[in-house]
Structures are given as structure tokens and as C-alpha cells.
């Protein structure tokens, strides 16, 4: 047996998650399980991490994101080989809002991949962690989940689902050995936001976002806004009265 920390990343090809993994392995070798849909892309991430940290144990799991039974089996399988210290649930996709309005199928997919799927994964890990009374579940939500806005409310609704879910999970595990961390990144410079960057949007660097997430998870903070300024921005947005809010094009 080894005494390395055991980390699991769901959606390991997400740039934010990948940079968290780089930071974790930079601190110390770990036992890391990378889960994703696209085998070739996870392989690329795993190869890179292996070069960065040859002493780490890196496993790859190719898995389904939506089927509850498959999720259950996958998570059971992961947990079977030892307790998990941290699971980071990071998968998702950022759609064009217009596509969600035009096409209900696209709308459904966005809700599933950004909302339902993370919740199912978290719930599967919660079941296991409740038994051992140990572990941290970190969920990547979004500032978009704090208030519905016309520019991305379907994505925002899915992330809002994750927010409410995380609140409930925190309530359930309050006072136990299981910690639940909800991460709310603002717009970050990743492949997911490449189309925003091309239009000239100002985005936070993924390294600094990952750094704050890793520190926040270590400190066991219940909610992490990254960069921190988004806490203030979203507090204002949440409290704007409708007659003001409805006049602004955000």
C-alpha cells in the first residue's frame, strides 16, 4: 500500500481541472484517477502529468456522463481500490444561448451535461464517502448559476442546479468528516471560452484560477469564487431589483 493522496477528476480534459492536477502533482506525487469521455484526449492529459510527476500513479477511466447505472458502476469501481481523498467534478460545456433557444435537444443536452451529470457523480461519491465518513467532494459550478441572465440562462440554470445541490449536500454532511466545496469560476481563459477570447473578452488565466481552487479545496471552504472579485460582482447582480436588472443587457 502507498500513502499517496488519492484524487479523482471527473472531466479531466477540462482545462481548469487539468491545471488543478498539475498543481497537486507539483506539491507531491499522488494517486490520480482521470475520468473522461474521449480516450485520446485523456491520454494526452495523463501523458503530460506522468512526465511532470513520474512518481505519481495515474489511471485513466473512460466513462459515460449521463447514464445513472453506468455512473454508479464506475464510481463503485473507483472506490473499490481505496478511499478517495478528493473528487473534483469538473466536466461541462458552454453553449451558445441562441442554440438552446432554437433547439430543445441542444437545450436538454446543456442541462444534462452541466447540471444533471455532475449531480449524479457527486451523489454516487457521496454514498461511498458517507460510509467511511471521509473525503472531499469539489464541484465546479459557475458564477452564471447565481442569477439567470438572458445571455446564458440555460447554462446558468444547469449551474444553478449544481449550486442548490451543493448547498443541500453541505447541509447533509455538516459536522461529519465529508467536506463539500462549491467552486464558482468567472470567465476563464480555457478552450471552452476560446470563442469569447476571439471576440476580445478579458478572461482570467487558468493557472491563477486553478491555484485558487487548489488552495480553497485544501482549506475546505464551502464556496470559492475565482477570481475572488466575482463574489462582490455576483452579490450586486443578485440584488439588483428587476426593474434595473431588466434594463441591462448582460
Amino acid at each position: 500500500m502507498n500513502n499517496k493522496k488519492r484524487m479523482v477528476i471527473i472531466g479531466a480534459t477540462s482545462a481548469i481541472a487539468e491545471h488543478c492536477a498539475r498543481l497537486w502533482l507539483q506539491k507531491q506525487p499522488a494517486d490520480l484517477t482521470l475520468l473522461g469521455r474521449d480516450a485520446q484526449r485523456i491520454e494526452r492529459v495523463a501523458t503530460d502529468l506522468k512526465v511532470r510527476s513520474p512518481q505519481s500513479e495515474i489511471r485513466i477511466v473512460q466513462a459515460e456522463f449521463l447514464d445513472p447505472e453506468a455512473i454508479n458502476a464506475t464510481v463503485e469501481n473507483i472506490v473499490q481500490s481505496g478511499d478517495v481523498d478528493v473528487v473534483l467534478i469538473a466536466h461541462g460545456s458552454l453553449p451558445e444561448q441562441a442554440d438552446c433557444q432554437d433547439d430543445l435537444k441542444a437545450c436538454r443536452e446543456v442541462l444534462d451535461i452541466n447540471g444533471v451529470s455532475p449531480v449524479l457523480y457527486a451523489e454516487a461519491f457521496a454514498k461511498q464517502m458517507a460510509k467511511t465518513n471521509y473525503g472531499t467532494i469539489a464541484l465546479v459550478g459557475s458564477v452564471a448559476g447565481d442569477r439567470g441572465r438572458k445571455s446564458n440562462y440555460v447554462y446558468g440554470a444547469a449551474k444553478g442546479l449544481v449550486t442548490r445541490y451543493a448547498q443541500g449536500l453541505q447541509h447533509r454532511f455538516a459536522g461529519t468528516g465529508v467536506k463539500v466545496v462549491l467552486i464558482k469560476p468567472g470567465p476563464t481563459d480555457t478552450p471552452m471560452t476560446a470563442h469569447l477570447k476571439a471576440k476580445g473578452a478579458k478572461l482570467a488565466s487558468v493557472e491563477s484560477v486553478a491555484n485558487q481552487i487548489v488552495e480553497g479545496i485544501e482549506a475546505g471552504k464551502p464556496v470559492i469564487y475565482v477570481p475572488g472579485k466575482w463574489w462582490l460582482i455576483m452579490m450586486i447582480i443578485r440584488h439588483l431589483p428587476a426593474f434595473v436588472f431588466n434594463r441591462i443587457g448582460i
Binding site: 482545462a15 484526449r41 494526452r44 501523458t47 511532470r52 478552450p191 476571439a198
Partner: protein
Amino acid sequence: MKPVTSWGRLSADPHHVVVLNDPSKVKSLVCHGAHPGVAHGMGRSYGDVCLNSEGVLWVTTGLDHFIDLNDSTGRLVCEAGVLLRDIQRLVIPRGWILPVTPGTQLVTVGGAIANDVHGKNHHVLGSFGDHIQNLTLIRTDGEVIQCGPNKRADWFAATVGGVGLTGVITQAEIQLRRVSGPWLDTETVPYTNLDEFFQLADDSEAAWEHTVSWIDCITRGGGRGFFMRGNPTNVGDRTAPQSRKLIMPIVPPVSLVNWLSLRLFNMAYYHLKKWQTGRAITHYEPFFYPLDNLLEWNRIYGSKGFFQYQSVVPLEVGQDAVQAMLKEIARSGDGSFLAVLKTFGNRRSVGMLSFPQPGVTLALDFPNHGERTHKLFERLDAIVRDAKGRIYLAKDARMPTELFEAGYPRLAEFMKYRDPGISSGLSRRLMGS
């Protein structure tokens, strides 16, 4: 469309930015586009070599994955968007180091190859391209070319120093060099004139791996300075210096580098640095990359940006040419704080358009004062032309075509390897397309 600037901040023209994140998708993104593009990494080149106004930029910083590191041979394979900083931080604790690095580590591997960058140890280890064993080039017609010093060597020679015009570099294999730790045994020696500089350079080449000098090009007509030299050393474990990062928070409306500040700065720097002469044990980061902790330092030159003028002239005429350039600069009243003088080793570069050639290289920064600055450059050009020297493409934003053609005799040979789907500000300015 998004405004993009290079390090000199001379323009902020709109570009179609296409982000390359996945090596398996690069081909489909760069092939058969309606408009020509050019690869763009960290944008640390000073002029228009990494720009393509109103055209496409393929941003490569997402290609940032390591692929293999052989701890016993020191062969590193990585994607082209990996930063030299990340390589150094990964490999130095494991007993290896990049053999050649430029004055900033915040550049990509692809950019370092395309500009065939050099460092303080050129006389010992040549330029960056000398240590590339293999690279992958994707052409805009879909062809994928693997080349290296022993494989399709003609493509390799065109691509190293080829300023991105032969295809998009996506992957490289680098031969690292053994090192015992992150420390250097360094010495700073003051000199009072160019005679002393050349004597110091001559005396140092055999025994010192790294040599470089800061030259004061203002005081008393210019010519005094500090000669810095260093060798890797094994001093066991020590605490690395805390790198405190400072950022230049704003772009001032006018350059903070001006007639008065330059005089004060040069005087202060010279006299402060005098206290630091002699031997020291120095960490590699401040020795190799003195400005990397001063983030966005290029902003001090104000909203009009700045030029860098870096030339190399043969050693036989080197002293006269450098003296003549310093004289012109002193006469112009403009001047450069970041003036660097260094001798190159007696070796031929790998690339057809590589900059380093035997001789002495002088690098200078000038705030952009429009016509006045261009007039000064014309006088400096004349000196470089007479000395049969050349100007560094990675720094250039304005050299005349005839000086480019005279300085780069392998240009005609290079043109056969150009990718017709690639065009940059520099290629249109100097090669017509």
C-alpha cells in the same frame, strides 16, 4: 476580431484569433483557410514577426503538454506551446537544463525555434535550434513534416529561424544538458570603454560559459558598462530567492523613458551596480531572466510603444561599428536603457534565416518618437550595412528590404520552403507576401 499587440506595442490591429488547443485538431484548423495566418505564441517578439493585421493568428499556447522526458538521456518531447519556464522548472530539479535560453523564459518552444533564439552562452552552445533533434511541422496544405538535423535537414534548416513561415510547429524534441543545480558562479566586472569590453570578452570566452554586458550608451558618449559572466556550479541545496513579481499597472500616456530619466537611470544603475562587482553565487532565474519578475515592463514606453534595434556585425569591424553606433545614438539625444552588448561565438547557425553569426551583437530599446526615431535607425542601418552585418527579425518592425536581403544571403534558398497559406506582417513587409 481582437486587437493584438506584440512586445513592442507599436500597433494593436485587429486579428482573427484561432486558438489551437488540441494537436489532433491543428490540421483541420490551419488547413485551407480562406485567409493566410501565422502562428502566435506568447507574443514576446518585438515587431511584426508574430502579427498578421486583419488576418488570422493561430495561438499556440494551448499546446502546452509534455509528451516524454527520458531522465537518463535528457531527451524531452513536448508540444510547441510549452513555455521555457515550465521546462526549466520541471527539468532542473531532475538534473537537466535547457542548453540555450533567451533573456526571457516566458516564450514558447515553437517561438524559440521559429526565431532561433540565442542566449548568453552562444560561444559555447550556439542557438536554440542547435539542440532540437526533431520537430513536427504542419503545412496549410495538410502535409505533416517531421524534420531534424539528420532527417529532411533542408526543411529543418528552413524552419529553424524561419519565423513561422514554413508551417506551424506543433511538437519538438529537445536535447537537454546535464546540470548539477540551479546555481551559477558569476562575476560582474566594470569596464570603462569598448577596448576593455572586447578584451574582457576575449579573455572570458574560454573559461566562462555565459557572457553578456550592459552598456551605458549615454554617459560621456557611451562605452562604459558591466561585463557579466557565469558558469554553472554545484553548491548543494540552498534556498532559491523569493521571486517577488511587480507589475507595471498602466500604460502611461508618454514614455517614462526620456532624455532626463535615461541620464538619471544610467547614472544610478552604474553606481549601484558598482557595489555588486566581483564574484557571487546567483540563482539561474535572476541571472538569465532579469526582467521576468517585472511583468508588462514594456508598458513603461507609453502608448506609442518602442522599438528594439538588435544588430550583429563581424568582429573585425565590430569595435568601430559599435563605436559609430554609440556616437550616432549620443548625437540623436535618444537613448536606450536596456543596451546589451555581447560577442557571438565563431559558429554557423543551423537556420537559413537564423540571426546569430560570428561577431558582436548590440541590442537597444528606443521609445517610439516617430520620424525622429526612424531617422536615427537609418543612420544605424548605414553602419550595419557597411559592416556587412544584419538585423534580428524577432526584434524588427522597420528595416528596409535591401538591408534584409543583404544581411540574409540564404533568403532565396529559404523562399522555396515557404508555406503559401502563411503570411505575417514581417513577411509582407520584407518578402512581398
